[in-house]
Subunit: 444 residues, 2 copies
């Protein structure tokens, strides 16, 4: 009895130790490039890496973006090594003179460059495929630090450099997103998992619509207070919807996660749309495919953006037929047969017009479902009765038409994004309600 | 003579001193939020702030992203204060429990929270406008640190907090992009400019297409070596084009900038598209408006994305009429009158099909210009003859049709983006060549 007790104690101790150890598997991302600091491009690499690594059980403690300057890069590495076990550098490894990462790393690790024939051969293969002449600048990519382990870049010319520093590692990768993603998937993540033991990150994401963030937080206040230790609830508001992420670490907590998730779903009530971290356009696609429905769009103010979101999902051709973007009123009349008198009487931003658009695009493109939108995205075109941000969205499913008026905001970019999201959610709710009797439609 | 010499020496010294002083106006951005680290949302705030602040003459030295954890936020502030004069914090100021920035700042600046009636009044006004009931969580936003200067948030509920720390400042703002942008424009940037003297950042951006980055760098190698001290040339590759940014600091270097810019433009030769840092869709819009041309699109594989890019520009209704997204072949035949036999004989990804699409969409929508695309975006649908990434783009201007075959890559997301950019540049070159006899069309 005592023996068993000790064993179980030991297992608790071991689990605790592993837990601490897991929490040491900390990653910092260092993104290098003047273009990131001056805002000429967005740091989508850090976003992607954060998502992938979190899913694999690593903890991202910080992302630092610095320019192509030696002292700044060195400082960032020093700071990151103080706290993290794994440093992932992207950028500054191109063939041009402003790219200095490789030289800074030689200084940092007290090593020199040497010519690597394998890398050269690899670069030659890449250039042959692209049918481009190899020049001296690109040839120089084959000079690599002596102390680094070199990983070939399958889809580009800058090799990946892996440095061991005691128990810690630093990996330098290209900043070109496609090259970074390829090497992360194929080489870096598998090697890191082998070298560093990681625990599983458990999470459930809930898509919620038709409620503000603060109203939702008020509703969930008690639930949050009563969450077991180690559980966190995060609010991730987007345009037109909120994602709630319930998360914790470790396989052992799965039953608790299930229980808390059920409680949460009940509390979300009618505002619950789906339990998924997928994009809403991917969710819509799944439902359409499952119910063997097809869809088309008739877009005025969103100018094709809803069609773009729907077709950004691989395999969208299974359910998406096409779209008529009727930016000009004449096109609404000529291609979508919207009644001229209706436009004159009710205005182009009205339930009557979007209903005609939704009906006729479905008729013309022979789809069971359709989405039609008309609104004022700004900065100009608003009136006292219909200010910038006024939008009518009509969704069609079989014989049913649903039109809802929304007020989306005042910035053009956000208005287009929000309108497209609201339209997709409106149709998603409509077909889910029909198919599964689960949701309610409510304007947000 | 000697006196004048001294004066000129002094002016050089003064300029040097000012130069150093200017270089002290360093900004670091600290973005706060678990959602940024785990990649659930992109850090678009840092991108926007970097762009705006650089234009105003501030130097961004680093961007640090940390989670909603007190010690990480404190550490980031400590590190940033070591090097920068201005710390801009975004995020972690919402009404929910995971938002802790305000409390951490109280600890950091050894101050306490007090209730601020003005902030409450302001929040009430915002809620009244939105027609929403004010709750306790949101009421708590009116508690602000005693030692901070409070700036009202005109478009949201979390107040902006400005802390002075000797000669340095720390400003905490909401992470909601629209709220951050509004306060940056209206309050923060003007106040910073008043408090910190800034010098002008001079830059010229050149849009280049039809050449690889390394070939371009080889061509410009001598030019780069001969650049005057203080000038930098940066390569910013995008999908389908490269931007070159020539930059330096200080009004006094304007004539040199002009001279170097001219040299550069000559070297860019036929690959030069435009001297502009504007988005290509905005450039296309300007040219169309100037030449009083209208445009429509017929999109297959891009699914409405080209129309979206064109209509993302305010005022696009001046030149954009509409679009037919013919995702399914049936729609190509029925709505765009593409000959069924041509599709069977030549395949749907062919010059013949995109030419019929471009001609017929222009005819139906009564536009002088049009863009038509058909291609295989992947991951499925490729064949041996036409692998994923094969795209035909046809652009029409008056009586002229131009169709070009491109091979864009292998990732769906990037393929859609690259195809849309190439299509816009193809039409941009076509109408500029006509209008200004300046460009040549070349596949990239």
């Amino acid at each position: 009895m005592c023996f068993f007790f000790l064993l179980s104690e030991l297992s608790v101790y071991l689990r605790f130790y592993l837990h601490i150890k897991e929490f040491n598997m900390r990653v910092e991302i260092i993104s290098i490039g003047d273009e990131l600091l001056i805002g000429q491009v967005a740091n989508t690499n850090a976003e992607w890496m954060g998502r992938e690594l979190t899913q694999q059980g690593f903890i991202i403690t910080a992302v630092t973006t610095v320019g192509d300057q030696g002292d700044e890069i060195t400082r960032a590495i020093d700071n990151a090594f103080e706290r993290a076990d794994i440093l992932l550098l992207t950028g500054g490894v191109g063939p041009t003179n402003d790219d200095i990462t490789k030289h800074i790393l030689c200084q940092y690790f007290h090593t020199a460059l040497e010519f690597n024939d394998e890398v050269l051969q690899h670069i030659e293969t890449v250039f042959l495929k692209r049918n481009i002449q190899l020049n001296q600048l690109t040839r120089n990519q084959a000079f690599v630090p002596v102390s680094a382990t070199v990983i070939q870049n399958k889809v580009g010319t800058a090799p990946i450099l892996w440095f061991d520093q005691g128990e810690k590692v630093l990996i330098s990768m290209p900043g070109v997103p496609f090259e970074m993603k390829t090497t992360m998937h194929d080489d870096i993540i598998p090697r890191l998992q082998e070298q560093f033991q990681t625990d599983r990150h458990l999470k459930r994401t809930y898509l919620v619509s038709g409620i503000t963030e603060s109203a939702l937080a008020t509703r969930l206040a008690t639930f949050e207070t009563l969450l077991p230790a180690g559980f966190t609830l995060a609010y991730l508001p987007s345009f037109g919807f909120i994602r709630l992420r319930l998360s914790t670490w470790g396989e052992a907590r799965k039953p608790e996660m299930k229980q808390q998730g059920r409680k949460l779903k009940l509390l979300l009530d009618k505002e619950f749309v789906a339990r998924s971290e997928k994009k809403i356009e991917a969710l819509l696609g799944e439902k359409l495919r499952k119910q063997q429905l097809t869809v088309s769009t008739a877009e005025s103010c969103t100018g094709g953006y809803i069609a773009h979101l729907i077709t950004s999902v691989p395999g969208a051709s299974d359910y998406f037929e096409g779209s008529i973007v009727s930016y000009d009123n004449r096109i609404k009349e000529e291609l979508l047969n919207v009644d001229k008198q209706t436009i004159e009487d009710r205005g182009v931003v009205s339930s009557e017009v979007v209903e005609q658009m939704a009906l006729n695009v479905a008729l013309k493109l022979k789809t069971q479902c359709s989405i039609a939108v008309s609104g004022i995205m700004g900065p100009d075109g608003g009136t006292r009765e219909k200010p910038v941000g006024t939008v009518w969205i009509c969704t069609k499913h079989a014989d049913e038409l649903l039109s809802v008026e929304y007020h989306v905001g005042s910035s053009r970019e956000e208005n287009i994004e929000r309108t497209a999201n609201l339209a997709i959610i409106q149709l998603l709710k409509m077909i889910t309600r029909k198919g599964e009797n689960q949701m309610d439609v409510k304007p947000q």
